[in-house]
């Protein structure tokens, strides 16, 4: 290109505002899009994501539900089979379990089980996350349950721009998709392109920081943490870490991850959920296949301690993934710190 194209105009906003903007734009764009969930209307959403939308679009497009997750998720599926595009909010990821059967046994099965005769363009959006002493039943990040399920798609953006672009892509997508937001990410600020037609393609990871010494692979809020740790690694140890934000768990962009590790030769996977059988297990398995000859160290993982989340502050702090743990793990993979992995 001869002249550089003008940079697209952007607006700074929080992750929360970016989700809200995406919902608003899609409500305006397509009459078949409607929102459904507990407290999303008058109360404006438990985490205020839908603030203002009830006033603007009214009770049909922004439908308040009783506490009946199995019922209204199922109703979303049925409406989607008929061609509507429901965006169902689950107050937090934890409460989706009572609707698990509708999601896994119904939504995820429809297209295949009926030989492609009918689809289910449903979006379920919900925040995961822990770290505020919300305890065992309210602090979970088990989005991998859904990423495990053929027929589902799962995205988990970490930045406002991705939250906006992936939400829009999800709403326009023809299959059931879980959009995992995050309680801590809601206040993260960033630039969001103003173009209402921009979407972020589902199934593409992003290299959010380039580096040559180690690759940190993460999604959701862990990707934000990974960036912070990468800066610390640079500052304190002169290490250049590359960060790959998965953005999409299913489909999973193995190529971008593999390309990065072929360059850095070391990998650390970070997940706010339990590591065992988790996202990082999947990534590690794929990396060892794709990068077997490139690896200078075993692929390692950081995850939530394998316990239900405890209440007491210091126990919770010990259980959750934090920057210090990621830092120590990265140094271990880099052979720059104590080995924190061998048993």
């Amino acid at each position: 290109m001869s002249a550089t194209a003008p940079a697209p105009s952007t607006t700074t906003m929080t992750y929360r505002e970016a989700v809200r903007l995406a919902l608003r734009e899609e409500l305006l764009r397509d009459e078949d899009v409607f929102l459904m969930g507990e407290e999303i209307g008058v109360f404006e959403g438990s985490y205020k994501v839908t603030a203002g939308l009830f006033r603007e679009f009214g009770p049909i497009r922004v439908r308040e539900t009783p506490i009946s997750e199995e019922g209204f998720v199922g109703a979303g599926i049925g409406a989607a089979m008929m061609g509507l595009r429901p965006v169902v909010e689950i107050m937090t990821l934890n409460f989706i379990l009572v609707a698990m059967d509708q999601v896994v046994n119904h939504a995820a099965k429809i297209r295949y089980m009926f030989g492609g005769e009918v689809g289910c363009p449903l979006v379920i959006r919900t925040p995961n996350g822990g770290g505020s002493q919300l305890t065992a039943q309210h602090s979970q990040s088990f989005e991998v349950f859904f990423a495990h399920t053929p027929g589902m798609k799962v995205v988990a953006p970490s930045t406002p721009a991705d939250a906006h672009g992936l939400m829009k892509a999800a709403i326009r997508d023809d299959d059931p998709i879980l959009v995992v937001e995050n309680l801590q990410s809601y206040k993260v600020r960033g630039e969001v392109p103003d173009d209402p037609d921009r979407v972020v393609e589902i199934g593409r990871a992003a290299v959010t920081r380039e580096g040559s010494d180690i690759t940190l692979v993460a999604h959701s809020f862990a990707a934000t943490r990974a960036l912070r740790v990468a800066e610390r690694l640079k500052r304190d140890h002169g290490v250049d870490a590359e960060v790959v934000d998965l953005r999409s768990l299913r489909p999973l962009d193995t190529e971008t991850v593999a390309k990065s590790i072929q360059k850095t030769n070391r990998a650390l996977c970070v997940d706010e959920g339990w590591a065992t059988y988790g996202v990082s297990a999947e990534i590690a398995s794929r990396i060892q296949r794709a990068c077997f000859d490139d690896l200078d160290a075993p692929i390692e993982r950081v995850g939530l301690a394998e316990v239900p989340m405890p209440y007491a502050k210091q126990l919770e702090r010990a259980a959750i993934v934090n920057d210090d743990k990621i830092m120590a793990a990265a140094l271990s993979v880099l052979d720059l710190g104590p080995d924190v992995f061998s048993y």
Partner: protein, 335 residues
């Protein structure tokens, strides 16, 4: 009732001082419902509840020191600092827990009632739940099981008008919640929760019916929470100031106090003396909580499994958590 009121006021103060964290659901205004329902329970009767636990636990006889200790996240707490406000429990006192998933406790309560029936015990289960929990499938399934299996289960619906910011009228096809029992040919009735003695009479009768005749029932208690849904909710966005003031005129503690004095069952001096004692008890519970140790980080993986072998096996299953379960569990096992 006074203990619960003052205890929760202290809880709110301690929350503001950040000595209590997480979700914290207060129940000021609901003391008549709480005490009326639970006071008629016998020691062998079992109580399950939602996350709005403090008053119910105290009414079932859980030591205030252990309740406050749990809220402070201490070893001396009823769940040794693992559960927090929503997950109090005292197995020995027949309080089988506060549960955080709406209506999740209902099937469990039916199961506890099944044990009573199985072992032919003379006891009953009471399960507290909110009005909004009646819209969950779990409630309906639990009631149906109780009906077809003749389980000694009294389901107590604390109808405080709202589930978070959504009114009963908006959320329920049949807002007369007690009538829903009829779907299972089960006895249902409604009682004024600001009148503690009316609640007591009803709960005593229904527990007796469950215990002796194996007849399950639904008791809807009309009440009101003065505070927001949790300490994070001001509670003003979805209801009017007038409504709140109107309810405060029928405060269960004030009403009962007036009745006792009027009917000569107690003097104002007697009641003041109780208040004084209770105040001291609350202060003492804070002192006990402060004195209780914090659970050591090395105990993180303790209580995950019952048998030591499993605990040990899973402690070795710790991939990738650098200061996480691997080292901690080993320490917790005293190695």
């Amino acid at each position: 009732m006074v203990l619960i009121r003052l205890f929760e006021e202290e809880v709110e103060r301690q929350y503001k001082r950040a000595r209590i964290g997480g979700y914290c659901h207060l129940a000021s205004g609901q003391e008549g419902a709480t005490v009326g329902a639970v006071h008629s329970m016998r020691d062998e009767d079992l109580l399950f509840s939602s996350y709005r636990t403090h008053g119910l636990a105290l009414a079932k006889g859980v030591d205030p020191d252990e309740v406050m200790g749990e809220l402070f996240g201490r070893e001396g707490g009823s769940a040794h600092g693992r559960g927090g406000s929503m997950h109090l429990l005292d197995y020995s006192k027949g309080y089988l827990g506060g549960w955080g998933i709406v209506a999740g406790q209902l099937p469990l309560a039916a199961g506890a009632a099944l044990e009573i029936s199985y072992k032919d015990k003379r006891a009953a289960v009471m399960c507290e739940m909110g009005d909004a929990a009646t819209n969950m499938g779990a409630w309906h399934e639990a009631l149906n099981l109780a009906a077809i299996w003749d389980l000694p289960l009294v389901t107590v619906v604390f109808n405080n008008k709202y589930g978070m910011g959504t009114s009963v009228e908006k959320a329920s096809g049949e807002p007369d919640l007690y009538k829903r029992a009829a779907a299972f040919r089960m006895h249902g009735e409604r009682v004024d929760g600001q009148d503690v003695e009316a609640v007591l009479e009803a709960s005593e009768r229904l527990l007796e019916m469950a215990r002796e005749e194996r007849k399950p029932s639904v008791l809807e208690i009309i009440t009101y929470r003065y505070r927001g849904h949790s300490v994070a909710d001001a509670g003003t966005a979805y209801r009017t100031q007038e409504e709140m003031e109107e309810w405060k005129k029928r405060d269960p503690i004030v009403l009962f106090r007036e009745r006792l004095v009027e009917e000569g069952r107690a003097t104002a001096a007697d009641l003041d003396a109780i208040d004084k004692r209770v105040e001291e008890r609350v202060v003492q519970s804070v002192e006990a909580a402060e004195a209780s140790p914090e659970p050591p980080v090395s105990s993180l993986a303790q209580h995950l499994y019952g048998d030591p072998e499993s605990a040990e096996q899973f402690s070795r299953m710790g991939p990738g958590s650098p200061f996480g379960e691997r080292e901690l569990v080993l320490e917790g096992l005293g190695r």
